[in-house]
Symmetry: C2
Subunit: 513 residues, 2 copies
């Protein structure tokens, strides 16, 4: 694509065709300016097969708004729609509708609330709430889902991997396996929000204000060997050029017999010159076994503070297994397992950037209410699957914390409900009739509203947090999340509940349909 084509592909026509055919239908029926509300939420946590998430980390919002800010129906976009033809050869989009698109269909006419990036979030809770003219809010759907689904998916995976690695340094290495240009930038950003400390991606690191991380590949050692030199020559050259950032990849020839001994030789030279070697990277073989032996060799040589970077198809389960194996095996070789665990750094590529095991978040954007005579009329889709029945109407989202300060449920309520007035709160299961909980006021330490105003009538009212602030939000939320919910395998299910009033409304709508 040239840059003109890229503007066409990534501008306001970065949407599905049916958003535009529906918009024209609304226009034709006089419904296009009718005020409507759409909720964005996901239906289930990522399920990676052998394991499953118990929470997600919200991400993608600021970049969605960067897109919203730039996306408008340019003359080129309108003309590309004007030439579309139906089966009979007639213009699909009529001139009067295209005129309206060009002149009136601006995202500036929308108001949007959202849960901030970095917050821990759960299924069926509105994460983003869009108000505005029906046709305009409808057109936003595709791009909104595209921007938010992927970043939330990756931030969630990063958080899991970060937790599996006990909070040790986590590097995002996924660029070469990531799905094309825009994706990796967004994926790297989401990884940084969710749990990665740095990324190898140079451009996006600079844009986001982080140092990019990386040292060398096997090819560097191969070049020296092909030209008649040795692995040691390659390492020595690296140390000469980067004496204060010397981290050596030790598995090009043979990790234990060549790579680590050569690295130690080079580290000794560095030490004599007053530099502090950084460490080694292991990228193949049994990473648990090799890291134990690497640690022993580095300790014996007087380098107990050097890092050991692990890479090669890592994910949260692999890291967890490596640490379990180290716990069990390291003492046999005279290596302290906790000391070893503390010096590990994880470089995670493919499995992080693709959310391997579940490469898509099932986020949806559903019409929940339309205004009629200044009242909100709830909209509902009846489906055979009760989980898929959206919660109707204009809602509030609350997080309820128990007496320990731990989040015990997310509660969806009607807009006019005030929980300060009640002595107890009834939490209904979203679709199982007999399942509800009653919470006494004494057992509740806090009821926190989760949605914040981002944009009112096109004006951004929100100060975008820095990525460090999003990370703080994530850490705070994870500290207030039950340990069982954070479990990597078979997590405890967090409660997302409906208020009595919302539950009754939903039943009434289902009865009447």
């Amino acid at each position: 694509m040239n840059s003109k084509e890229q503007r066409m592909a990534e501008g306001i026509l970065y949407t599905d065709q049916y958003q535009l055919t529906m918009a024209q239908l609304y226009y034709r029926m006089g419904l296009h300016e009718r005020v409507a509300q759409f909720d964005h939420f996901f239906r289930s946590y990522p399920d990676y097969g052998e394991h499953k998430a118990g929470y997600c980390v919200n991400a993608g919002l600021e970049w969605l708004f960067d897109w919203i800010d730039q996306a408008h129906f340019r003359k080129d976009d309108i003309e590309s729609l004007r030439i579309q033809r139906d089966s009979a050869g007639n213009q699909i989009f009529a001139d009067d509708f295209l005129e309206w698109l060009h002149n009136e269909a601006s995202f500036n006419r929308l108001s949007i609330q959202a849960i901030p990036e970095g917050r821990v979030v759960h299924p069926n809770v509105p994460l983003t709430v869009v108000h505005g003219p029906l046709a305009i809010a409808q057109i936003l759907e595709t791009s909104l889902l595209n921007h938010l689904n992927y970043q939330t998916l990756i931030a969630t995976k990063a958080s899991r991997i970060h937790n599996a690695g006990r909070g040790n340094l986590l590097l995002e290495f996924g660029l070469r396996r990531a799905p094309e240009t825009g994706a990796n930038a967004g994926g790297a950003r989401a990884a940084l929000i969710g749990g990665a400390d740095f990324t190898s991606n140079v451009g996006i690191s600079h844009v986001l204000g982080f140092p990019a991380k990386g040292t060398h590949a096997h090819s560097m050692v191969q070049v020296f060997i092909a030209l008649g030199g040795s692995e040691l020559d390659a390492f020595q050259a690296y140390a000469d050029v980067y004496p204060d950032d010397c981290l050596l990849l030790v598995d090009t020839v043979n990790t234990l017999e060549s790579g680590i001994p050569n690295a130690i030789k080079v580290f000794e030279v560095l030490r004599r010159k007053g530099h502090k070697p950084v460490g080694i990277r292991l990228d193949s073989g049994d990473l648990a076994y090799l890291s134990i032996h690497a640690a022993k060799m580095l300790n014996d040589a007087g380098f107990p503070d050097t890092s050991i970077v692990l890479s090669n198809q890592l994910d949260e389960l692999v890291i967890w297994q490596i640490l379990a194996q180290i716990e069990h095996e390291a003492p046999r070789y005279g290596v302290d397992p906790d000391e070893l665990a503390n010096r590990l750094i994880y470089g995670v590529g493919t499995n992080l950037i693709t959310s391997s095991g579940d490469p898509a978040l099932d986020g949806v954007y559903k019409l929940v209410a339309v205004q009629q005579n200044n009242n909100w009329v709830p909209a509902i889709k009846v489906s055979e699957n009760p989980i898929k029945i959206p919660n109707p109407g204009h809602k509030h989202v609350w997080r309820v914390y128990d007496e320990r300060g731990i989040a015990t449920a997310d509660l969806l309520s009607m807009e006019d409900e005030n929980f300060q007035e009640h002595d107890e709160i009834i939490l209904h299961h979203p679709y199982e009739h007999q399942s509800f909980r009653v919470l006494n006021k004494e057992t509740i330490s806090e009821i926190e509203p989760l949605l914040v105003d981002i944009m009112i009538d096109g004006e951004i009212l929100y100060d975008w947090p820095t990525i460090d602030e999003m990370r703080e939000a994530r850490k705070n939320d994870l500290e207030r999340l039950d340990t069982g919910v954070k479990r990597i395998i078979n997590p405890h299910i967090y409660h997302v509940s409906l208020s009595e009033k919302l539950w009754n409304l939903k039943q009434k709508l289902l009865m009447n349909l």
Copy 2:
């Protein structure tokens, strides 16, 4: 990101940090201008868990070259590198190296061969071969892999889904679950190359010259119901606005009791007015069962030519199972299973655009040779896993067709080998010593070289094929591929072999290391 940030993130710094640290090391050692060759290949077919690919469809090349054409070290890029600091606070990239990057490190200095897009390709076969100054070829790695891995992955998945659907119309619907902006455009393009007929993505359809496809969502029906109308009102409104493109989504309320009967009422009105209704879409429930009953109802109402579009979490296995169920069950209801199968259209979203089951292709870019004194010196990485040992040196790639005209093997040979001169060809297994085949000349109908020159010293020598031409290439290759290799589950393994001379070289290098 604003547009300046986007240029930074998607330009030449769309790479991994270690490409630049290695480039500086080569510069410092005087090796940066040394001519080198890198091969791009993938190691294994996508493995989706319960099923596995037996071939891949090559894609992504033209967009890689669009990127190469635009990517250069701008002043902004150089300055962003100049401010990088090492652990001791010193500049990581020295001024002389940055000067060289800015003035000399241009992709115009590379020559690139590749297998064209749309061709069927196999593991360990060089798909892209890059020659040129070591440091410059090294810097290209990340972006090359990023552009080619993802599109090849998606083209492959599209081909499988297309084949499972017996070549019926296939629509790509994945934008909302795709990984961000650039990705979906590339994913949609790859899907169109690999087997999708159209995509719902409006912008990229226009850019690539295809009509975008889509009709309406559940929300349209919900709007009418919320405002006091009915599903029938919604369908009638749709038919009024799109009389020649009337395809109705029938599962918002109840597919068999409401959706299809209402669609038929509207189709009857259209017929009376002289229009031909297009069909219905089923998006939930048991799609096999519902499509049989939908077919029966449409047939009974005199609409046997209307299409039935299936969507909702489809992939190649689901489609295969639906068709098997139809084969078995349709006759019971007086529906001809083949007629029904022929009127089905598949709308595939998430599972296509993410290559669900295996969301990354393991494509790599490996140094295979370096020039010294005008000779190529092969480079090799010794790894514990024999599959991971790259094939050394400067090579040719041939496809060998048997007497039936069916591809029997891809053969890698040394550059100076000419198979016209031999009476027989020995095909060696790439790493198993005793496994080889001898082919007599009489059993070979054709030996086709697969690599073509794309760029020589920065000049593009290649006429980019249209997507239709790439589809032709794919269809031709699939016709000449053994049926067993195309099997969806447990495919027969296609042979990728080494010539006797290349096999001997590889053994010699491994011995000497």
